[in-house]
C-alpha cells in the first residue's frame, strides 16, 4: 500500500522539446494533492462533527423507544384509518431508528475518519507459467493414479451410471407434477345441454324476459357450486351475455339457432392469453379485454376488430326452457381461452 499524501502533485516543470521528439501520448500527472476537510485543521469543526454523529445515534435510540410505545399503544383496529395510523407510527419509528444509525455511520466515515486515499497493486488474474504447469502435472498424476485413461470399460460404466441415476429423481418428479397430464380437459367445460345460465356471483338463473336490450350479464353455470373445484370450473365456464336488437345482429349461417331473440352468449375468456373480457361498450357493441385491449364485436360473432387476439370468442349455443329460463343447448363447440398447439387436432 502506498500513501498518496506526500508530493504526488502534478509535476509542474516545463519540459521543452523539438516538435519531432514529442511522445504519442500524454503522461499521467500522478495523484492529485489531498484536499483538507474543515475538521482536519480546525479542532472545533472536528468536535462539532463528532457531536452530530452522537446526536444521530441518539435519534435512533429515541425512535426505537417510540416504536415500542406505538406498538403497545396503537393497535391496528378494524378500520382502514386506524390501521394506516398504526402503520404510520410503527413505520416512522422504524425508519428513524434505522436512518439515525445509517446517517451517523456515514457522517462519521466522511467527516471524521482518515480520508487519505491509498493505493494497492493489481495483479493479472492469470496464474504464472510455473503454476499452470504444476497444475497440469498434478492432474496428470491424479489421472495416472486412477488409470482412468487405460480402463475404457470402467470409464463407460461410470459415465452410464452417472447419466442414468438422475432418472430415479426426475421420473417421479415429472410423473406427479402435472397431475394426470390429460390436457384434453382444455376441450370441455361444465356447460351441457339444459344447464341454466345464472348470474355471477349470486347463482340466480336468468329469465330471457329479464334481459333488456343493451344489458350485459356476467354468467356462470347454475350448478357451478356443486363442482368439486368450483374455481377451476369457473375459470373455463364464465360467459358474457348480451341482448342486442336482432336487427343489429349478424349471424353466421350455421349459428342461426344459437341465439335467442337477440340474446347472445360468448365465452368470457379472452382468446389471446386468457384474461376475462369484461368491458362492454353499448353503442359499438364492442367488448374490450382490459389486459391487452383485444376488441371483439359482439354483434358480429365476437370477431376480433383490434388487438393481439386472433380468434373470435367461442359462442355458447343457448335457448330457453319451458319456464322461460335461459339454458345452454350444449357445451361450447370449441375449446375456450388461449390458443394452444393441439387445439384443432382431433
Amino acid at each position: 500500500m502506498t500513501n498518496h499524501d506526500a508530493g504526488h502533485g502534478a509535476s509542474n516543470e516545463i519540459v521543452t522539446h523539438e516538435p519531432g521528439a514529442l511522445p504519442d501520448r500524454f503522461q499521467d500527472p500522478g495523484h492529485p494533492d489531498h484536499h483538507a476537510r474543515l475538521g482536519d485543521n480546525d479542532p472545533k469543526a472536528n468536535k462539532k462533527a463528532e457531536l452530530q454523529v452522537v446526536a444521530l445515534f441518539g435519534i435512533s435510540v429515541i425512535a426505537t423507544l417510540g416504536f415500542l410505545v406505538a406498538y403497545f399503544a396503537l393497535p391496528p383496529g378494524d378500520t382502514p384509518e386506524s390501521m394506516l395510523r398504526s402503520n404510520l407510527a410503527l413505520g416512522l419509528g422504524l425508519a428513524l431508528s434505522l436512518l439515525g444509525i445509517g446517517f451517523a455511520a456515514v457522517h462519521w466515515a466522511k467527516a471524521l475518519m482518515n480520508d487519505h486515499e491509498k493505493s494497492e497493486d493489481r495483479h493479472v488474474q492469470r496464474s504464472s507459467d510455473e503454476n499452470r504447469e504444476a497444475a497440469v502435472n498434478v492432474l496428470k498424476e491424479g489421472a495416472a493414479d486412477s488409470a482412468i485413461g487405460r480402463r475404457g470399460v470402467l470409464q463407460g460404466a461410470m459415465i452410464s451410471a452417472l447419466a442414468l441415476f438422475p432418472l430415479a429423481i426426475i421420473v417421479p418428479f415429472v410423473g406427479n407434477i402435472g397431475d394426470d397430464w390429460n390436457v384434453s380437459k382444455f376441450r370441455h367445460t361444465m356447460w351441457k345441454k339444459g344447464t341454466k345460465l345464472a348470474t355471477d356471483p349470486s347463482g340466480r338463473p336468468i329469465k330471457a324476459a329479464d334481459v333488456t336490450i343493451g344489458s350485459v350479464f356476467h354468467v356462470i353455470p347454475e350448478d357451478l357450486h356443486e363442482a368439486e373445484h368450483p374455481l377451476d370450473e369457473k375459470a373455463k365456464a364464465v360467459v358474457l351475455l348480451v341482448r342486442l336488437d336482432p336487427a343489429d345482429l349478424t349471424e353466421a349461417e350455421d349459428r342461426k339457432g344459437w341465439s335467442y331473440d337477440g340474446i347472445v352468449a360468448y365465452s368470457k375468456i379472452c382468446t389471446h392469453v386468457g384474461c376475462p373480457v369484461a368491458l362492454y361498450e353499448q353503442q359499438t357493441h364492442h367488448l374490450l379485454c382490459p389486459c391487452h385491449q383485444s376488441t371483439f364485436d359482439v354483434a358480429d360473432g365476437a370477431k376480433v376488430v383490434f388487438g393481439p387476439a386472433k380468434r373470435p370468442l367461442p359462442q355458447l349455443p343457448i335457448t330457453v326452457d319451458d319456464e322461460g329460463y335461459l339454458i345452454a343447448q350444449s357445451d361450447f363447440t370449441e375449446p375456450v381461452g388461449p390458443s394452444y398447439w393441439e387445439r384443432l387436432a382431433r
Binding site: 522539446h17 499521467d28 491509498k118 390436457v183 382490459p290 393441439e342 387436432a345
Partner: protein, 578 residues
C-alpha cells in the same frame, strides 16, 4: 487510544476471543489480508450496494411474513376486522394476507417493506447493470461476473413475480392467467408445460404452495449463492475505478475496507433499510384488501403489474393478432410467442452476450481496470441506450390504456404509434446518442487544445479583441486524453506471401466488418504534438498564460500548453500503450 501498558478488561476479552478463534481457524491471516483492502469510491458504485442492502431488507421482512402467511388454496369464508370482506369466499392464502395486514401488529408494515424493497431491489439491479455496461466494467477479466449479475437480474424477476402472485388476489390471479396463456402458446409442449406449472388445469389447487416454495426457498437460495459468488469476484478482481490522474490498470486507488467501508457500507445498509421503512410507513402498496380474492370472472381496467414486468405486458399489447397461424391441425400462436418470448429473448440475449461480442470485435485480450467514460465509446453507449429505449417503449406500451385515458387519446392510435416506435425508436436513439458522444469528445478536444473560456475579453494594442482562455491543469487534461480511441481492426491479407489462402480468413473478415461498424466513427484524443502545434501556431491561447496569468493564479499546474512530458517517461508508462 490507550497508552497504558495494562490492557483494559474489554481489550483482554477481545484479545482472548481473537486468540481462541485464530487457533482454530487461522482467521488472523484472513484479517491481515482483507481488513485494509483498498476500494475505490464513486457514487455510482453505490448502486450495487443498494441492490445488496435491499435484498437483505427483503430477507428480514420475508422471514417475518413467512411466519404468518399460509400458502394454501383451500377455500374459506373470511371472518375478521375487514368488514367489506366478511363472509366472502377466498383462499387461505388471501385470508392470511388480510390477517397479516389487519391483525398482526406491524404486519402491514412488513408487507409494505417487503414489497417496496422488492421494487427498489429490481431498480437497483437495473441501474447497477447500466453503470457496469456504460463504463465498460464488464471487460476482461470481469465477463464471468457480468454473466453472474445477469443471472441475478433474471432471478430477481422470478422472485418478484412469484412473490407478487402469493397473496392470491384478483390482480395477481390475472397475472397468472396471462402466464398460463403465454405458456400454452409454446409449440408442441405448451399444454404440458401449463400442466407442469399448475399441477393440472389452471388455476388448480397446487399453485400457491408451489409458488411459495419457489419464492421463499428456491429462488432466494440461488440468489444468495450467486450474490456470494458475485462479491467474491469483486474482491478477487479488485474494484474498477474511474479514470483520473494517478490511476491506472496496474493499481487500485481508494480507501481501506476497515474502517472506511465498514462504516460507510454499514451506514448505507441502515439508510437503505430506513428509506424503505419510510416508504412503507407513508405509501400504501398492493392494498389487496381493496382488490378482493382471486376470481376468474371480474377484472378492472387500468390494472398494472409491478414495473419490472411491464415490458412484457407492453410487448404483448403491440403484437397484431393476425400472426397466429394454423399449420395442418396445429396452432402456432406467433401473436403470443413473438412478444412474450422472442422479443425479450433477443433483448436479454444481446444484453448477456454484449461483453463477448465486444471482446470478439476488438480482439482485445488485455485486462481492463480503469473504466471508460461513456462518451469515449460511442458505439457501446449508443447500443446500450437503444436497448434501454426498446425497454422503455415496451414499458410505455404496457401503460397504453392509462396514457389513453389520461390524455384522452384513442387507444388504437396509441397502440399504432408504439408499433411504429418500437422499430424506429431504438434506431433513432442509437443515432442520436452516437452523435452526442462524438460531440462531447470533440468538446473535450477543444478544451484540451484551447482551455476554458473565462469570459474575460482583452484588447490588443492593434485593436483586436480576444477572449482569454485558461488552459487546463494537468489533472483536468489527463482525464480528457487518457483513453485510447479504438480503431477498426486491421487483419492479415487473405493470402500469404506464396499465395496460399490463409485459414481463418473468413472469420477475421467478419470480425473486421463488425469492427468497422463499431469503430469507424471516432474522435482521437489530443496528442502532445497536437497541443504543441495549437500553441505554436500563434493562437491567442498560446500567449495567454504568460501574458495574462500570474503563476500564483494557476494552482497546481502552470501553462497548460507548454509543459509537455518527457518521452522517456512515456516509454516506461504502463504497458497498455503499445
Amino acid at each position: 487510544m490507550t497508552t497504558t501498558a495494562t490492557p483494559t478488561p474489554v481489550e483482554k476479552l477481545a484479545a482472548g476471543t481473537a486468540d481462541y478463534l485464530d487457533q482454530r481457524t487461522g482467521v488472523g491471516t484472513f484479517v491481515k489480508t482483507f481488513a485494509r483492502k483498498i476500494f475505490p469510491d464513486h457514487w455510482s458504485f453505490l448502486l450495487g450496494e443498494i441492490a445488496l442492502f435491499s435484498f437483505i431488507t427483503i430477507l428480514i421482512s420475508g422471514v417475518f411474513l413467512t411466519i404468518f402467511f399460509v400458502p394454501s388454496m383451500t377455500e374459506v369464508h373470511y371472518e375478521g376486522p375487514w368488514a367489506a370482506m366478511n363472509g366472502v369466499e377466498m383462499s387461505e392464502a388471501f385470508a392470511s394476507t388480510l390477517r397479516l395486514s389487519f391483525e398482526v401488529r406491524g404486519g402491514l408494515l412488513m408487507r409494505q417493506i417487503h414489497h417496496w424493497a422488492a421494487l427498489i431491489f429490481m431498480a437497483a439491479i437495473v441501474t447497477h447493470m447500466m453503470r457496469v455496461f456504460f463504463t465498460g466494467a464488464f471487460r476482461k477479466p470481469r465477463e464471468v461476473n457480468w454473466v453472474v449479475g445477469f443471472t441475478l437480474l433474471i432471478l430477481g424477476l422470478a422472485a418478484g413475480f412469484s412473490g407478487y402472485s402469493l397473496p392470491d388476489d384478483v390482480l395477481s390471479g390475472n397475472g397468472l392467467r396471462i402466464t398460463d396463456g403465454v405458456v400454452r402458446a409454446i409449440p408442441i409442449i405448451g399444454s404440458y408445460t401449463s400442466y407442469f406449472i399448475f399441477g393440472g388445469e389452471f388455476p388448480g389447487q397446487d399453485l400457491i404452495p408451489r409458488l411459495f416454495t419457489v419464492h421463499i426457498l428456491l429462488v432466494p437460495g440461488i440468489i444468495l449463492a450467486l450474490i456470494g459468488l458475485h462479491l467474491f469476484f469483486v474482491v478477487l478482481h479488485k474494484h474498477t475505478q474511474y479514470p483520473g490522474s494517478g490511476r491506472s490498470d496496474k493499481i487500485v486507488v481508494g480507501y481501506p475496507l476497515f474502517p472506511i467501508y465498514v462504516a460507510k457500507a454499514g451506514g448505507y445498509f441502515f439508510t437503505v433499510f430506513g428509506v424503505i421503512a419510510l416508504m412503507a410507513a407513508t405509501m400504501s402498496i398492493n392494498p389487496v384488501w381493496n382488490y378482493g380474492p382471486y376470481d376468474p370472472s371480474p377484472i378492472s381496467a387500468g390494472a398494472q403489474p409491478d414495473w419490472y414486468m411491464l415490458f412484457l405486458e407492453g410487448s404483448l399489447r403491440l403484437m397484431p393478432g393476425f400472426t397466429e397461424v394454423v399449420i395442418g391441425h396445429y396452432t402456432l400462436s406467433l401473436n403470443v410467442l413473438i412478444p412474450a418470448m422472442v422479443v425479450p429473448g433477443i433483448l436479454f440475449t444481446l444484453l448477456a452476450a454484449y461483453p463477448f461480442i465486444e471482446a470478439f470485435v476488438t480482439g482485445d485480450k488485455r485486462e481492463h481496470h480503469v473504466l471508460d467514460r461513456p462518451r469515449n465509446r460511442p458505439f457501446r453507449t449508443a447500443f446500450g441506450v437503444s436497448l434501454l429505449t426498446a425497454f422503455f417503449i415496451l414499458i410505455l406500451a404496457g401503460s397504453n390504456d392509462l396514457i389513453a385515458t389520461h390524455f384522452h387519446m384513442s387507444l388504437n392510435d396509441i397502440t399504432w404509434a408504439f408499433r411504429v416506435l418500437i422499430f424506429f425508436g431504438p434506431w433513432f436513439a442509437f443515432w442520436v446518442t452516437k452523435r452526442i458522444c462524438l460531440g462531447l469528445q470533440r468538446k473535450d478536444r477543444e478544451l484540451v487544445l484551447h482551455g476554458h473560456e473565462t469570459g474575460r475579453i482583452v484588447r490588443f494594442a492593434n485593436g483586436e479583441y480576444i477572449e482569454v482562455h485558461k488552459p487546463l491543469d494537468a489533472h483536468e487534461r489527463w482525464l480528457r486524453v487518457q483513453h485510447e480511441a479504438i480503431r477498426p481492426l486491421e487483419i492479415e491479407p487473405a493470402e500469404d506471401s506464396r499465395g496460399v489462402r490463409r485459414k481463418g480468413y473468413g472469420l477475421d473478415r467478419l470480425r473486421q466488418r463488425i469492427s468497422q461498424t463499431f469503430y469507424e466513427d471516432r474522435v482521437e484524443p489530443v496528442t502532445p504534438a497536437e497541443l504543441a502545434a495549437s500553441h505554436s501556431h500563434g493562437e491567442h491561447d498560446a500567449i495567454e498564460p504568460t501574458t495574462e496569468h500570474a503563476p500564483a493564479e494557476l494552482t497546481g499546474a502552470v501553462g497548460g500548453g507548454q509543459h509537455l512530458v518527457d518521452p522517456q517517461d512515456e516509454t516506461t508508462a504502463d504497458g497498455r500503450n503499445r
